[in-house]
Symmetry: C2
Subunit: 505 residues, 2 copies
């Protein structure tokens, strides 16, 4: 469900807007709340022709003026007081139970079947309508109101940020309903793929600068480079949210699949486009936190590949240079828990010499030896995993500046990273969100790159390792299919080799 939510980086611009408390916050907040609540009530309950643009504008402007606390309260009112007429539902389902269900549909056909089922059609239709929460009207009305779709996206961003703090059943039901509605409205059929260039309006380009969160854009010159020779940028736009791509992807045209992000960001000057053989997707950013969980990216990559291939038939490789956002978190918790188990083992000194069933030394003997062989004045730990944990969590990543540490850490980090990408799963899917995103789109894991992103963020997420996923045109559908049906992850021999070394250790 949440693949893309985590897979692509999302900024929180809207939310900052939301948390502003006006200067007269404490004095007027109760009165303000009541006003907005009244305008929300009007927007929902007035009949269709009465719901003028004014009412909806009042409501959305009023909403934005509320404090975080008041927004929360208002959303709870919406979720609880504008859901279903449960007694009406009950009445209809009693009617439905009163109908005789034909035991086998195949026994009757033609006009007899039709008259038999016509009561079902009627009651089922009524029941479907009765099960629609009243707040659907508000969503529908806002959707057809200028600026309303963007407002709904902001509203959902607020709901998600509240749910991240407290789990409220009614609010979760509201969110799930709103998410379904947004998915329908933002179906790929309604999205337009737009190539973003230096000729686009500054108001659109500033959005790219604001929302590019994978590799931040430092200034206008940087932006111009990303739209210039040897580069492409594509975005999905929705007619109701003009001038602001919902998601965009940046592409570099290169001779080879890049091994480090510095190669991409600082290859000055870029090679002539005619010499390029590889299109590298080096950044995908979605701009609307309120659209989390709605897969906007799926069709994007396929369509961009088609467009690039059409323009430049000499491009034969389509690959990514991607972060591995969950690797360090997984590794550190693994190291910490195993270290604890190791200590427990030691203290218990089990009589039969067997170790705890949960204990697993995730290092192989060679790696263990190398880690324990480090000079003790610099590192701390009673076993390899503890040493590794302490090194990786040391202040300002001191390991990155020491050739000795680097040479000892490289082997286990690369091997465990391959294991993480290829073998660690959640509900049958890759544990890493970006991996899951690309694998479900039909990519394969091609290569992992040591010290490919030395930025603070790169080090904290994945120890500086980045991964190339490759989209092989003739296998996209096949790979997507086998991943979807049985979680099979396609990878290059090099990647498999890392993991086999592990298995034999």
């Amino acid at each position: 469900m949440n693949t893309e939510q985590n897979a692509v980086n999302q900024t929180q611009h809207q939310n900052s807007e939301g948390n502003q408390s006006g200067p007269n916050d404490s004095g007027n907040s109760e009165r303000e709340f009541k006003q907005v609540r009244a305008s929300m009530h009007s927007a929902i309950t007035l009949n269709k022709t009465e719901v003028l643009d004014d009412v909806l504008n009042n409501f959305s402007e009023g909403y934005f003026s509320l404090s975080h606390e008041n927004r929360r309260n208002l959303l709870l009112v919406l979720a609880r007081e504008y859901d279903l007429d449960r007694s009406q539902v009950r009445e209809l389902i009693k009617q439905c139970l009163g109908l005789d269900l034909p035991s086998d549909k195949a026994q009757v056909s033609g006009p007899e079947e039709d008259s038999l089922f016509s009561s079902f059609y009627r009651i089922e239709r009524n029941l479907r309508h009765a099960l629609k929460p009243v707040y659907e009207d508000l969503f529908d009305r806002l959707n057809t109101h200028p600026g309303g779709l963007r407002f709904l996206s902001n509203l959902r961003a607020d709901i998600l940020s509240i749910l991240a703090e407290e789990n409220i059943a009614s609010l979760r039901a509201l969110d799930s309903y709103l998410k379904e509605k947004l998915s329908t409205w933002l179906s790929p059929a309604a999205l337009e793929l737009h190539q973003i260039t230096w000729d686009d309006p500054a108001s659109l380009l500033e959005k790219i600068v604001a929302y590019e969160a994978v590799h931040p854009i430092s200034n206008l010159l940087d932006l111009k480079r990303r739209l210039g020779t040897g580069r492409r940028c594509f975005g999905y736009l929705h007619p109701a949210i003009p001038g602001e791509p919902l998601i965009f992807i940046e592409v570099a045209l290169l001779k080879d699949v890049a091994q480090s992000i510095q190669d991409v960001l600082w290859d000055s000057p870029p090679i002539p486009e005619t010499e390029a053989t590889c299109a590298l997707f080096y950044s995908i950013s979605s701009t609307q936190p309120g659209l989390a969980g709605i897969n906007l990216g799926k069709f994007l990559i396929k369509r961009v590949i088609t467009l690039v291939k059409r323009e430049m038939s000499h491009i034969s490789t389509f690959a990514t240079l991607s972060p591995i956002p969950g690797f360090m978190q997984w590794l550190l918790s693994k190291l910490a828990s195993q270290t604890l188990l190791a200590e427990a083992d030691m203290s218990q000194q089990l009589a039969d010499g067997s170790s705890s069933t949960f204990y697993e030394n995730i290092l192989n003997p060679e790696e263990e030896e190398a880690l324990m062989g480090l000079p003790k004045d610099n590192v701390d730990g009673t076993n390899g995993m503890e040493v590794m944990f302490n090194l990786l969590t040391s202040k300002s990543y001191k390991w990155i500046h020491s050739p000795e540490f680097l040479s000892v850490l490289k082997k286990p980090l690369m091997r465990l990273c391959a294991r993480y990408l290829l073998q660690e799963k959640k509900r049958g899917k890759a544990l890493d969100s970006v991996a899951n995103f690309h694998l479900q789109n039909g990519a394969m894991v091609e290569r992992i790159n040591w010290l490919a992103d030395r930025s603070e963020k790169g080090l904290s997420q994945s120890g500086g390792i980045m991964v190339n996923y490759v989209y092989s045109l003739e296998h996209i559908e096949e790979y997507a299919h086998s991943y979807f049906t049985n979680g099979e992850i396609h990878a290059s021999p090099v990647l498999h080799h890392y993991v086999e070394v592990m298995a034999s250790a």
Copy 2:
């Protein structure tokens, strides 16, 4: 519901495609049917990533190759064998009945309420999903498939043409569901207003020629005139149906509100645009019979008015010159039934001298006298209504060529036309579909025009009378509201005067 379905003219281009029987129709039709049925089954039941573009293409191409009869059978299979799992629904509603419904929601609030309702949220959500027919998957998949939305619109056109012949409950349920889905996908937020000009691609302009059904476009020169000086044309486009407006409206810039369609179509040369004070909507055509009943026009007129006003602030009057498609049908059936009742009255010679309660002479004495005074060698009838009926239904509209007939008919026809527009209703709304369309958009009835459309179609629909509806900027919302809530029809004093004459007669 069906306002726009009838309000705007719809051509049947798609259907002609559908009725083509292939050369090998009789020989292969059974085998073809089975193939298409199998591809439809795959398109519905394969899991998401297996539903490749190929499967959907196979199905839609296969569908178009089927004969009318086989399409009908296939649609019945879809409607009957891919609807609901009724035993699952039954199971869920039993679960739902098992829950205690709190008597008053206001009594509990906060966390207690939430835990109380969380079972409801879960079961209601499951029930909502269980009530979705299986064929929704086919619709959803086609919607995200290139060309799929257009295909669904053609599919629905077929369904509607079958339902026009036979009322099949399962097919009606299918239609109602598909219509709801299409309404969502074609929400105004997803539609783009586009000014159609001579600079548009010929492939788009040929659609305008093909679909303009109100006042057919005879040749390229005619088209060029309708897009040239003193004219505007606007259309709604959907990104998934590129190059083909779903609905379009033609506007003439004039000095005064035109009284006849000839004034609009043949005002050669048009006046300079700076001298115009009136924007006259003289034609609205929708292009997709499969979108019947989905109100695409509502926001169109409002948005076009805003655009025109912005470009030319000297335009102060926004009006239509519209057909009255239902007038003759209503009048002739009224005349026929009253004539029959009159004869029955005569033959019964009721003892007390009272006439039948259902009998109403819709002519006033003056009109009756004038009609009966016509020379008997040319007309036939024992009373005014019979004479009128016979005149109006005479071969090749002979009344239109006779100054004598015209002078006698004008008064009753104009008066009864005003009555038809202002007083004849169905479920509280104007009986005439075009009247209902404009009134619900907030227009008023301004003027009816004698001999405003002498074309065959104009004479057969409305005896050549046309009507001007006026959109008064400051009253649009108010009029739409009072029409919506209590069916109030706003009209000019002239129109009211016609009707009052009637009342006093």
